[in-house]
Symmetry: C2
Subunit: 195 residues, 2 copies
């Protein structure tokens, strides 16, 4: 423990802000959540948030960064350059299932606030902050050189994983996460490896 006592933060307020914001953005939506609400639930005032973040968008951007980091670790070294082969996507998706399950909220944030992220995407110069995965999926779906069937089924597989974990909410509360992961992986197989 070489850190001087004077610089120890309360308990990393910045991260606590992000945790609360994530919770509220998922539950109510980004736009319908005010900074006042976040601050109240945290026991501080709005102004305090502005010490840690430059703007409301900046909070959203930081949460986007969490996902970005997560995807980078998961997908790095999977395909070096150029567009992916469909097989590589299947592998990435399978590998991703576990991450989505153990970071449900983070993915829900993106699924349920697509409009907000798109606006962030175009206005800010957070260039090259796109996740590789996201870009490559787009490339794969739009690649007219691939069989149409492959492209459509790729989208289906993506939807299957997304809905299989996020749509049901409480409806799948009784299902073991490990079992769920295996069933989803199996579904991906059926969608992407039929000929």
């Amino acid at each position: 423990m070489s850190r001087p006592a004077s610089t120890i933060p309360k308990i990393d307020t910045r991260e606590r802000i992000l945790d609360v914001a994530l919770e509220l953005f998922v539950a109510q939506g980004y736009d319908k959540t005010s900074l006042r609400e976040i601050a109240e639930q945290l026991g501080v005032t709005k102004a305090a948030l502005y010490y840690h973040f430059a703007s409301k968008d900046d909070i959203l951007l930081a949460l986007h960064g969490r996902l970005h980091e997560l995807l980078r670790e998961t997908t790095e070294g999977l395909g070096e350059a150029g567009p992916w082969r469909p097989g590589a996507f299947a592998n990435a998706l399978r590998r991703l299932i576990g991450e989505v399950i153990s970071n449900e909220k983070l993915f829900q944030l993106h699924e349920r606030n697509r409009a907000a992220f798109e606006k962030l995407h175009q206005s800010e110069q957070h260039t090259a902050m796109h996740s590789d995965l996201e870009v490559r999926i787009r490339e794969l779906l739009a690649d007219t050189g691939l069989p149409v069937r492959t492209r459509v089924r790729t989208a289906c597989a993506l939807g299957a994983v997304t809905f299989g974990i996020m749509l049901p909410g409480d409806a799948f509360a009784d299902i073991d996460r490990q079992v769920l992961a295996e069933l989803l992986s199996e579904a991906i197989d059926d969608l992407l490896e039929t000929d």
Copy 2:
């Protein structure tokens, strides 16, 4: 044409408002779209909107009604009472593909503004305005009497159709809608009729 000339509306302004609102709500999101924007694109003022609708939420509710009507027509007589058997769901889903394709915007509205709809859902007393389809899907997913595999795959099939049509956006612009419908139907088969 028995309608008296004096009661002929300009061109059914109410419907035109809904059309513009649908377009903007999908493109920018419900919260980020102001009534001023809707009015401007329509060539009228904000106040005019309030003649036709009681509130902004009321506009969203009317659009929800459009979908409700659509689903009612599509699913009526499919299963009379009680929860659905999985097979009945597969049929409903297959039947639904065409509707989703030819009413893309309407479904996108719901997919991209789930937060707004949920708030509408709980605050307003638009009780019993839930679509049968929606309720029954929930029942099916949460039915602990069914095999877990069936429940998970039901969610997958739903996601496959949703993402297959809505996620890609322009990426599938080159794909014929009829072909797309057949490929999705095929994917549903693979997901729901494997043993």
